[in-house]
């Protein structure tokens, strides 16, 4: 039996197991955060889709208006002048085919990977390494593009990728506990809106089943679905 810590027990007591409107839930998350670091606020959305069917897959990207509160390390694989463009945009690692070799050798010191379409042929063989970590570039999520400059900037500005997992739940970060309440709320609304837009046509029944918010080490707080329509 997993023991609940006193910290967690106190926090749970405060929630009293009930659902809150989004605008009340987020401040509560901030209030209950008691870890010794700036925790990330996360949101989980359970959807009414069957992710085993490819046509019911929900996946997309969204640029959060207030970012995530931290900058991602970006690696860009491009050729020629595109490399310079990426460097100017602030990418940490920029290179061509030689980076592919390094990644194959086990180097993975980045959190996002952008590639130009002409370099994709070298990346094809990295699927087994990048795939499990969700780093494989994909044109649909804007990580395979010739416009590397803006792609890097977007990622740096707080672009998040979301996708349903096997249990039909999307988990993504919204920002940090130290954010202003309004900023978090705006980020959350933007994300939910974008997920709603990504509703596959094959999805049947109620699409958004339940929503929870929490901080990295805090308890989950249920969100009233009716509060999202306002």
């Amino acid at each position: 039996m997993v023991k609940t810590s006193k910290r967690m027990a106190r926090a749970r007591e405060e929630i009293q197991g009930q659902a809150y409107p989004l605008q009340a839930a987020l401040p509560l998350v901030q209030k209950l955060s008691s870890a010794k670091f700036d925790e990330t606020v996360e949101i989980s959305l359970r959807l009414g889709v069957d992710p085993r069917h490819a046509d019911q897959m929900v996946r997309g990207t969204v640029v959060l208006p207030h970012g995530l509160g931290k900058s991602k390390k970006v690696c860009v694989i491009a050729s020629g002048e595109k490399q310079r463009e990426a460097e100017q945009a602030g990418a940490e690692h920029v290179g061509g085919e030689e980076l592919v070799g390094r990644i194959q050798g086990g180097w993975l010191d980045f959190e996002a990977l952008v590639a130009t379409p002409d370099m994709m042929k070298f990346l094809g063989r990295l699927g087994r390494i990048l795939g499990p970590k969700g780093l494989m570039p994909n044109p649909k999520t804007g990580t395979v593009t010739f416009d590397v400059g803006s792609a890097v900037k977007e990622i740096k500005a707080g672009k998040v990728e979301f996708r349903v997992d096997k249990t039909a739940i999307i988990h993504t970060p919204l920002g940090k506990v130290s954010f202003d309440g309004d900023k978090l709320l705006e980020n959350a609304r933007t994300l939910i809106e974008s997920v709603m837009k990504a509703k596959p046509s094959a999805a049947k029944g109620k699409y958004l089943r339940s929503v929870f918010v929490c901080s990295s080490m805090g308890p989950g707080i249920a969100v009233e679905l009716t509060s999202l329509d306002k």
Partner: protein, 651 residues
């Protein structure tokens, strides 16, 4: 999920089963049992869609995938072990190839063109599907399964044709486990697995998310994995819930019930017939007789199934050997510089039945070969006792047989005179699964397994007094194993054997030799005792292990500098418990005396109120006594435990 109704199957002129109704639900764990040739394999093949039914209905939903592991007859070639395993994910690998091709196309077309849009759309879809189906972790999954089945990391890149039949079987099993079909059909999967791999498979099956049907002659395996048993017997299928052990209990209960019902029915029929015969010609009773006749016709006669033949055979006993059969003194053995074991010393006494256990390649067969005298020792001394005659049953024993001889002739030529009767000889052959026309086969046309079986039989007919058996139970079914087991249990000589069948080891062994990583350990008792002793040893080792940093803890004021024991017993607590223990004993005696006097008082009646008072008193005292006894027992147990611990710590 899958349903067979009124199913019927013939094999040539022989009917395997009739009127078989069977429903398999999505989470069933079924053990399929029955003697050799009762149609277990055929039934599995029918479920796997590889054989048609001769009659009846077989219905399964469209999306059911059934995976069948054949008993033998596999041949793989042209790929490495890992490639072969990954080949089951054919469609996923195709997706991966297409993804690679698309990345190449991306580089070639103009990003502004429609063509590029089409390519990226397709790439996105495929990548999503590939990831959703765990395409990126295929190798990891294959590695886990292969590792569990005993493949070393270096083996994964070996070509499959370089593997022996048993290992190819494991590859096939691994492939099947990776596919995770909705219905897993395993036909004797344990035949080629060693104990380690069996334990792994057992655990895997326990966690298997879908249904499976398992045919196995390993009782432990059946006991530990299945929750239903389907028995094929006498051309009928009988279903039982529970594992193998419960099946045996239920089966005997069912038989007893059936016999009782049969007896009752018999009596009823006799009664009716008696009535009919007596009054048939009385006009006044004609109506009653007619109704009785009708009743008689309506009775559905219970058929008693034919008794299962239990075969018993008395094998001749060997000449007696000396008390000491073999002795090892500091024996070491190495092959080409690689040490198999060293410092091995033991004595084998007459009548010992020793099971050798250890992982594949630990040196069990080497030890047997040294005992047989076919391998020299590298160092140390090895000698056999007085009048010891060794017989070694190796995996390739059949090579010594005369290929031209017919079985029945060969047996009669070596059988002792007491067994010269032809019927007896055929029974004997039947024990080892050579029935009807098979006894007239020549040895050269027998399969490898059959030859081994026959070689075993020959060995038992003319036994020497020191038998060395390497995997004798392979290729034998449960009944044949029982025959062998019984023969060996009654055998007066000495046996050293290697087996991967836990039940067999458990029933036969009186001593267990464990060879593990070059070290040798001698345990007395059977397999279960061995496991228990091993557990205890590990427990004690755990106890002896020091907690990290114990020397620095504040309480380690031991003068000798010995660190604090983890399980140190609190002496104050022990003293208190002892005091309470003694106090309880006295109190219990007092209470018993009290009850006795009160009961004797009850014997003489004084008044109703007095009696009621006494009865209540006795009841209360009884309750108190029970409670005290329970507490006393508990305390005794705890004290014993602490005594044991302290003696361990002292030693």
């Amino acid at each position: 999920m899958i349903r067979l109704s009124a199913a019927r199957k013939h094999f040539g002129s022989k009917s395997l089963f009739e009127d078989l109704d069977w429903l398999i639900t999505p989470t069933d764990r079924i053990g399929l049992v029955g003697g050799n040739g009762t149609g277990k394999t055929t039934l599995l093949k029918i479920l796997g869609g590889m054989e048609p039914l001769d009659g009846g209905l077989f219905s399964a939903p469209k999306d059911i995938t059934a995976g069948y592991l054949p008993q033998d007859g596999l041949s793989l070639s042209g790929r490495t072990v890992l490639e072969e395993c990954l080949s089951v994910f054919g469609d996923l690998l195709e997706l991966e190839e297409e993804m690679k091709a698309l990345t190449h196309q991306m580089a070639e077309v103009d990003p502004r063109s429609d063509e590029y849009g089409r390519i990226t759309e397709r790439y996105h879809r495929i990548e999503t599907e590939f990831q959703g189906r765990d395409g990126y972790s295929l190798e990891a999954q294959a590695g886990t399964v292969l590792n569990g089945l005993g493949f070393a990391p270096a083996d994964l890149n070996r070509p499959t044709e370089s593997l022996s039949g048993g290992w190819q079987m494991r590859v096939a099993l691994a492939k099947l486990l990776l596919v995770k079909p909705k219905l897993l059909l395993l036909d004797e999967p344990t035949n080629h697995l060693d104990l380690e791999a069996r334990n792994w498979l057992q655990q895997y099956l326990n966690e298997y998310p879908h249904a499976f049907v398992l045919v196995s002659h390993d009782r432990y395996m059946l006991d530990a994995t299945v929750n239903k048993i389907l028995e094929l017997w006498n051309r009928r299928a009988y279903s039982y819930s529970g594992n193998y052990e419960r099946y045996l209990a239920q089966k005997s209960a069912r038989q007893a019930q059936l016999q009782a019902a049969y007896r009752n029915q018999r009596e009823k029929i006799e009664r009716l017939e008696l009535f009919i015969n007596r009054f048939r010609y009385q006009a006044t009773r004609a109506k009653q007789v007619q109704s009785r006749i009708k009743e008689l016709e309506k009775i559905k006669r219970i058929e008693l199934p034919a008794r299962e033949k239990t075969i018993r055979f008395e094998f001749p006993q060997p000449p007696r050997s000396g008390r000491m059969v073999a002795e090892f003194r500091g024996v070491a053995k190495s092959y080409e510089g690689k040490q198999v074991f060293h410092g091995m010393s033991f004595v084998i006494n007459r009548g010992d039945r020793i099971g050798l256990v250890g992982v594949n390649g630990a040196g069990k067969s080497t030890l047997i070969k040294i005992l047989a005298g076919s391998e020299p020792v590298t160092a140390g001394e090895f000698r056999l006792g007085h009048n010891v005659k060794v017989d070694h049953f190796a995996q390739d024993q059949y090579k010594e047989l005369d290929p031209g001889a017919r079985l029945i002739d060969d047996v009669s030529s070596i059988a002792p005179s007491a067994l010269s009767d032809r019927t007896q000889l055929r029974t004997l052959l039947g024990c080892f699964l050579f029935s009807s026309d098979e006894v007239f086969k020549q040895i050269r046309v027998l399969s490898g397994g059959e030859r081994n079986r026959y070689a075993l039989l020959r060995m038992l007919l003319r036994p020497r007094n020191f038998l060395l058996l390497d995997e004798p139970t392979n290729h034998l079914d449960l009944r044949a194993k029982d025959v062998l087991l019984e023969a060996l249990q009654e055998f007066s000589g000495t046996v050293v054997f290697v087996s991967h069948d836990r039940y067999f080891i458990d029933k036969l062994a009186t001593r267990i030799f464990e060879i593990d990583g070059g070290r040798f350990q001698d345990y007395s008792g059977n397999y279960e005792d061995y496991l228990r002793q091993k557990d205890q040893v590990t427990l004690q080792q755990d106890d002896r292990e020091e907690p990290p940093g114990a020397e620095n803890s504040g309480r380690s004021g031991d003068r000798n500098g010995t660190p604090l024991r983890r399980n140190k017993i609190n002496p104050v607590l022990v003293r208190r418990m002892k005091e309470r223990h003694q106090g309880l004993e006295e109190e219990i005696t007092r209470c018993e005396v009290e009850i006795a006097t009160q009961e004797s008082d009850l014997g003489t009646f004084k008044s109703a109120t007095e009696s009621i008072r006494l009865v209540k008193l006795v009841e209360r005292n009884r309750k108190r006594l029970d409670e005290m006894i329970r507490e006393w027992e508990e305390l005794s147990r705890t004290l014993e435990e602490s005594d044991r611990k302290s003696s361990v710590l002292r030693s």
